[in-house]
Each structure stands twice: as structure tokens, then as C-alpha cells.
Symmetry: C2
Subunit: 229 residues, 2 copies
Amino acid sequence: MSACNSCVVRTQAMCSILSDREREEFARLGRQMAVPTGQTLMWEGADSMVVANVVSGALKLSTSVQDGREQIVGVVYPSDFIGRPFGKTSPHSVTALSDARLCVFPRGAFDMFARSHPDLEHRLLRRTLDELDRARGWMLLLGRASAREKVATFIRDVAGRLAAEGDAPLTRFDLPLSRQQIADILGLTIETVCRQLTAMKRAGVIDLIGRRGVAILNPDQLEDMAHAA
Amino acid sequence: MSACNSCVVRTQAMCSILSDREREEFARLGRQMAVPTGQTLMWEGADSMVVANVVSGALKLSTSVQDGREQIVGVVYPSDFIGRPFGKTSPHSVTALSDARLCVFPRGAFDMFARSHPDLEHRLLRRTLDELDRARGWMLLLGRASAREKVATFIRDVAGRLAAEGDAPLTRFDLPLSRQQIADILGLTIETVCRQLTAMKRAGVIDLIGRRGVAILNPDQLEDMAHAA
DNA sequence: CGGTGAGTTGAAAGCAATCAAATGGCGTGG
DNA sequence: CCACGCCATTTGATTGCTTTCAACTCACCG
């Protein structure tokens, strides 16, 4: 009965380790849900009511300070997990960057189900450890990298993340984020992001096509820029 | 027989949920170990051979780029967990900031024990989720805060972290880190850290006593500085 | 085909980094 | 106990990258 059988992330999301019977039970706890671009699913500091799996689309995790400065602390893609299990409040906001489909579960029910299915918790633990590694790598970028390094690294990473699992990074693609959002990820201003992109274009490393399109002309040079520039 | 019975972090470390029998079995897998100040226990990118619980002391987690720039991505204290279970390589170096005592386990043995003790894995999951939240909060600081805000936030956080669980933040204490290490945590240079500290002293917010001593004279003003300055 | 908002470019200012030199805390040996 | 030397820290001067403020362009939509 459940939509799981046709779910595109069934094989990669954490539910994949469940048996058919377990997955059916699990599926009954939650429901699919569409989230339009720009909609915020969860607010920083608010009670953590739900957790979810991303089925399609991309969402940002962000925190901000009084005066409007915002920092994006993570971006999640299909098969990624959203929300804060086993905790009272959500430590950051979650907002859709594109129209997205989620598989949403009430937090309480999820917590209980997870507690009684060690394999699922194990899967979640691995995912969380990976996410922690990624966050810490990002900290190096935020704390020690120049604007050039940040932007080059960002382009390279998106190219890798957008490629199908196991494939080589794409050489031509559309950015899933606006310039402002890129700036919020890298801890820069929108103008600085622009200037770096233009400079990289002038250097013949990339090409910019319209608002969102990027072509990587010289991957090696891009790689160099990501490390020191 | 095991040292566990006298272990100072027994009640807070993750081993606390194990039964006496289980803990004995668990203890047989590992051993206590002293790590002198400055010694590196684990190297960035190296095979992840061990995991450990911190019994006493403080250690830093750090990554760096070719040219010597370093970023500290985390600091761990007693009862915290170190290492990368379920993964091939360690994503960052681990170095003792002070003489430390650890309870060390071979990774393989730990992984297997954890897999067969869901309660332990659950505890580890919660710990990892907390750590991820902390890392993301740090990202906001690194990406969007001014030098003043970074240093003020750092002082405030150390005061809180050094106080006994549940107590009010300390008003006079010794920093567990050198100026250079503080700089590496905040993504600043040592000179900038110095200047900010001196400025805060001149402003009457804190006092500096010798190399490591700090007294908080005006907690409210410090709090303000941590948020916007 | 014109409007609108994202994106780009330019000029100037500001903040932290860099380079350089002075100070002082602390351990050591006399 | 005091003098000495080393190294962390502090302070100063200058540079330069990123931000800020402002104007302009252009892609995309109706």
C-alpha cells in the first residue's frame, strides 16, 4: 500500500535496511509531503516536532543573528535526513531551496520506532557521523580560506554532489542556489561571490551561462584554486 | 578488576548505560592511556585505528591546509568521545592540549561491540547529534562574526564550559588554550586575538592576569559583545 | 516589449592580516 | 633568592582583502 515501493530514494535512504514488514509499519507513522520553494519547514529554536527524509529537491539548514546576517550551516539533498531526533528544539531553520518532496514523521513516533530498531539507529548514526565530518570540513573553509578558495571549493563540491552516485563530477550544470545563498554558505557577501565568479570566468577556469548555469572548463585549475589562491 | 569502578567520568561517559557485566566485557577491549601535552593521538587522513573516551584533560580536533594554516574544529573534555567509528580514516588530527588520560579502544573491536549493544549506540548517536549541533553553531561564528564577537563569545563559552555542570559560569579562571590556539579556533591571527583581548580589558569588561588568567568583570557587557560588536 | 529583481561592476572605506619590534612571564642556573 | 634567557604575548605601522555603498545591466516573466 505504501508509496515506499515506488520511492526514488528507497535504496539509499536509511529506510532501506528495514524489512518489507518493518518498512510498512514505519511508513504508517509518516506521510509524504510537498514543500514549495522558499517555504520554511522548521524554525530555529522552535519545538522539534517532526523529522523527515528528503525524497526530492534541496533544502538549506540555517541560523542567524539578530541583525539579519544569516549563515547556512548545511544543504540537504535526496535521501538525506532532516530534523533533530531525541531533542526538544530544532537548532536551525530548514527551508526549501527548490520544490521538494519529503517523507515526514512526527518526532515522538520516530524516536520510539528508532529506539526499537537498532539497525535503523545504526544507519542514522553513520549518517550523522558523516554529516559531522562534512560540517567540520566546512569549518576549515569558513575559518581559513580566502574568498577565491571558498568559491572554487563550492563550485567543485556542487559539481561532485550533483553527479549521480559514483559518477565523475559534472562539467556543466545549474547551481541549486542563488548568489545570495552561496554567499550565506561561504560566509561572504553577494558582491564578493560575483567578483570571484567573474574573475574565474576571465581566467578561463569556468564559464557562466545565464543566472544559474556553470561550465567547468579547466577542472585542474579549479582544483588548484580550491586549495590555495 | 577494571579501572571503571573508580573512573571519574563513569557516570557521564557513554559507558554508563552498560550493566556491570557488560561494562566489564567492554573494559577488557580497551585500556587506559596517558597522553602528554602536545602529543598527537591521531593524524588527519590516517587510518582510523582507535576510538577513545576522555577521562581527564582537554584535546583539540584540527585540520589544516598545505601552507600551515590550521583550523581547530573541536575541543573535547572529560567524558567526551574521540575518534571515527565505522569509518576508514580519521577526518582530523587529535592532539592533547594538556596532559590527558584516555580510555582507548581498537576501532574494530569497538565497532563490533557497539553493533551488538544498541543502548551504547543510542548513547553515541545522541552524543554525535549534540556534537553536530555544536559544530554548526560554531560555523555561524566563523562565517559571520567579527573579531570582537568571536573573542567575546569564546571567553563566555569557556567560562560556561569550565564551570561544574549546572553551576553559573566562572568569573575567574585560566584559559586552557594559548593565544595561538584561540586564534586557530576562531579563524583569526594571534595578533588580532591579543588586540581584542586588550581592547576588552581597556573597556573594563574583563581583566587579564598573567598569560592564561581571565577575570570577567562585566558579564552583561561581555554578553552584548558576543552578539554584536 | 517593458518591468522587476537578481546579478554585476565600480569606488571607497574598514577591518583584520602581515610584517616588525618591544615587552614581560616563567623556568633555569647561578 | 636573584639574574638571565627564551619564548609567548603584546604593541605598532602598514598593507590588502573583503565589505559597503551605489549605480548599472540583464535575464526572465508577464
